[in-house]
């Protein structure tokens, strides 16, 4: 399905909803503004079956004229250092969406001007965010990778009333503590508790159920010492102890994020514990260094390894020397060969376009950012039809709160309560393929997101996890 087709499909959905609401409001308040209704037909492919969708575009006099000048979209990602393995793909996904949207005429005729800034430690990230808001006067904001940064920037975005789509920075803390009642901020990639629980359920289905580790495994681990690593450690081990009450959780390592390049001491300590399983939530350059050195120490031969982010960065970053037969994660989001390109051409075409543009395959951050760009466009356009003119943020937000669409990874929807997006979770086995000169996910396990994330009625994900009966297996 081409980009035009996809937009056509989304417009059809948007125009349908918008048309109904506009029509309803018009009927309620009186005579509608004079409008010219243009209808065109496009063919799109959804779920492997060709469908004909009627696209309705409403053009007419509007109550509010579209502002002149471009839309200023602020964006922050790690452009440098070990975090760039995740940050740059996110930037690439954002840029690709922006380019496509601009090439197709922009949003309601306004081109997007992308203002990009580096993501760094929390204080520097916040400083750059404030500059974007106060000096550059951005209209909308997208980006952020680190869970250390979204809880810092989130409250600031709310205070400054900036419609914000966080691509990642997926810590549960953001919507549980930092901004418990979000209005202006949303988040695209799956929530972090789902990441940890996906890794735990993946461990069960890919290792325990196959007899590759015992039902009373000794579990060690290594995690970056900040919000992400601490939460993965907590949630993963809690989930494992719920599913396997006889599991023994050993002391785990917490090196500082991007503070350590030599992991010899940590690796040796993990081996010393003689575990059956190691859970690893290092990411970016940290993971590349760790796995390379762990091979040298024979760690992968002595235990099974389950990770949350082996395949989280640019796919080519993990070489073919990565051991096979372990469980590798993608932050519970997206691996570029899944869904199958034949069954889900939207993914195949996205991968091809991305590869053509950036000479690399898309990661989950790239997919998330790309979908985020279109989410913003769709929501503005739907809201525009509802209000009869270029919408304010306060008019776009209700649209986003009930928004759902089909992206390259499949169906994605926003939960109104916490402004968090949900899509099916992915994890798989590490392997190789003759088609690629890097390590790949050789067996992909897709878990329905409702199996690995807390239902809306729970205040926190931890409450839900703790409500699991002993022996429960999602």
């Amino acid at each position: 399905m081409s980009g035009t087709d996809r937009r056509g499909f989304l417009k059809a959905v948007g125009a349908g909803v918008g048309g109904l609401i506009v029509g309803g409001l018009a009927g309620y308040f009186g005579a509608p503004p004079k409008e010219v209704v243009k209808t065109e037909t496009v063919t799109t492919t959804v779920g492997g079956a060709a469908q004909t969708v009627t696209k309705t575009v409403t053009v007419g006099q509007t109550a509010r004229p579209t502002p002149s000048g471009p839309i200023k979209l602020g964006s922050q990602n790690f452009f440098t250092g070990p975090g760039a393995l995740l940050g740059l793909p996110s930037a690439y996904g954002t840029r690709m969406a922006v380019k496509e949207i601009n090439d197709a005429g922009g949003i309601l005729g306004r081109k997007i001007e992308l203002l990009e800034r580096d993501e760094g430690p929390s204080d520097a990230t916040l400083r750059e965010f404030r500059k974007l808001v106060l000096e550059d006067k951005i209209d909308y904001y997208m980006g952020l990778i680190s869970s250390g940064n979204t809880p810092t920037v989130g409250p600031e975005a709310e205070e400054n009333k900036v419609l914000t789509l966080f691509v990642d920075g997926c810590t549960d803390i953001l919507f549980e503590r930092a901004v418990p009642n979000p209005f202006y901020i949303f988040r695209i990639t799956n929530i972090q508790s789902s990441d940890a629980i996906t890794a735990a359920v993946g461990t069960m289905k890919l290792l325990v159920d196959r007899g590759l580790i015992p039902e009373n495994p000794k579990i060690t681990g290594i995690h970056p010492d900040y919000a992400y690593g601490r939460l993965i450690h907590d949630f993963y081990n809690t989930a494992m102890q719920k599913m396997l009450p006889d599991a023994e959780i050993l002391d785990q390592q917490f090196p500082g994020l991007f503070k350590v390049t030599d992991f010899s001491a940590q690796i040796t300590s993990m081996i010393q514990q003689q575990p059956d399983l190691a859970v690893v939530s290092l990411w970016g350059g940290d993971y590349v260094n760790w796995y390379k050195q762990a091979i040298g120490f024979g760690l992968f031969d002595k235990m099974k390894v389950v990770t949350t982010l082996t395949f989280g960065g640019s796919p080519q970053a993990v070489g073919k020397d990565h051991p096979t037969g372990h469980v590798g994660g993608v932050h519970a989001n997206y691996w570029f060969t899944n869904p199958d390109w034949t069954l889900w051409p939207l993914n195949g075409e996205f991968v091809k376009k991305f590869k053509d543009m950036w000479d690399e395959y898309p990661s989950f951050e790239a997919e998330g950012a790309y979908v985020g760009g279109y989410m913003l466009k769709d929501a503005i356009e739907i809201a525009a039809q509802e209000v009869g003119g270029y919408p304010d943020d306060e008019e776009v937000i209700p649209v986003l709160e009930t928004y759902s669409t089909y992206g390259p990874a499949g169906y994605i929807q926003v939960r109104k309560k916490n402004h968090q997006c949900y899509k099916n979770a992915v994890i798989g086995m590490t392997g190789t393929s003759p088609e690629y000169d890097f390590a790949v996910m050789s067996e992909v396990l897709v878990l329905p997101i409702e199996k690995v994330s807390a239902p809306a009625e729970y205040n926190t994900s931890k409450q839900w996890l703790e409500s699991w009966p002993v022996g429960f297996r999602p």
């Binding site: 452009f79 440098t80 250092g81 785990q252 390592q253 350590v260 010899s264 390379k292 050195q293 031969d301």
Partner: protein, 292 residues
């Protein structure tokens, strides 16, 4: 039992890298009385150049042992060349000024180099695997240990011995030490202090570049690596004593051992232990264990 041998080797490995870093810093400080904040990124430059050589030329271009000798030496030479330009142009005008100027200049170079890496080598970490994996592993009981790590440990001891020999058994080394003790008297005795400063700075920088060149095969060349390394090198300097080569050696061993023990038995407070020891040394002996 065998795990403790691995622990000891890990401590030696870490100590070796730290010694190489601190030795260069100490030579520069000892002779020139400059705390070279750019030192961390001179180490990173060696790592980047070595990785870049291996990735662009290809490891096949260096048959046999040359793979472990030529690329890191190229890295060290590029760093040496940079130091040769940096000392007379940026540092020499600062010698007669207050120390804050030197700190500002070297910190500026640290930041400029960081951006230069980004410009020249791109934002992604540079990872080379072949030299590390080709050497294979040794079996210590039922445990494996990468043979490449032995090479890095050996390099630390070789450089330590070479520096000792150079500083204590050669005429140039004696002149160097004499100049570090009394610069004016050395000049009065006919020592060309300017040249001596340049040579000292280049030697110190090249040792850092060599360390980076060797470490990059085991780790990766990544933005920020120099700054992190610099912080640890200062911990070693604080413990061992500013300007003391013996202090650098002993300090590196202490930090290497403490880090391994901390990681194995107190993983939650591993870094805190390191800084605690530095604080204790500073309190009891502010000049460091072997500082003057």
């Amino acid at each position: 039992m065998f795990i403790y041998i691995i622990f000891a080797l890990n401590a030696l490995l870490f100590a070796s890298v730290l010694f190489l870093l601190t030795a260069g810093l100490n030579i520069i400080y000892g002779v020139m009385r400059i705390i070279n904040l750019a030192h961390g990124n001179l180490y990173a430059l060696g790592a980047y150049v070595t990785a870049w050589v291996l990735l662009t030329v290809g490891y096949q271009a260096f048959p046999g042992p040359l793979l472990y000798i030529v690329p890191p030496i190229i890295g060290a030479m590029v760093v040496g060349l940079g130091a040769l330009i940096m000392e007379p142009t940026l540092l020499r005008p600062m010698y007669k000024r207050i120390e804050e100027f030197q700190l500002l200049i070297t910190f500026g170079v640290l930041l400029i180099l960081e951006d230069l890496f980004l410009l020249l080598f791109g934002p992604y970490p540079l990872s080379v695997r072949e030299p590390y994996t080709f050497l294979g592993v040794s079996q210590i009981g039922d445990l494996s240990y990468p043979n490449y790590n032995f090479l890095v440990i050996a390099l630390g001891f070789i450089i330590a011995f070479a520096l000792w020999f150079f500083l204590y058994k050669t005429k140039f080394g004696i002149i160097l030490r004499a100049t570090s003790l009394d610069r004016e008297m050395a000049a009065a005795m006919g020592v060309n202090v300017k040249s001596l400063f340049t040579v000292s700075f280049v030697i110190g920088a090249m040792i850092a570049g060599l360390a980076g060149g060797f470490i990059v095969t085991k780790d990766t060349a990544v933005l920020g690596m120099g700054i992190e390394a610099l912080v640890l090198a200062f911990v070693v300097m604080v413990i061992g004593g500013l300007g003391s080569m013996k202090g650098a050696f002993v300090g590196a061993l202490i930090v290497g051992a403490v880090r391994q023990i901390g990681t194995a038995y107190f993983p939650e407070i591993e870094l805190a232990i390191l800084w605690l020891i530095a604080a204790i040394v500073l309190t009891i002996k502010p000049q460091g264990l072997f500082g003057r």
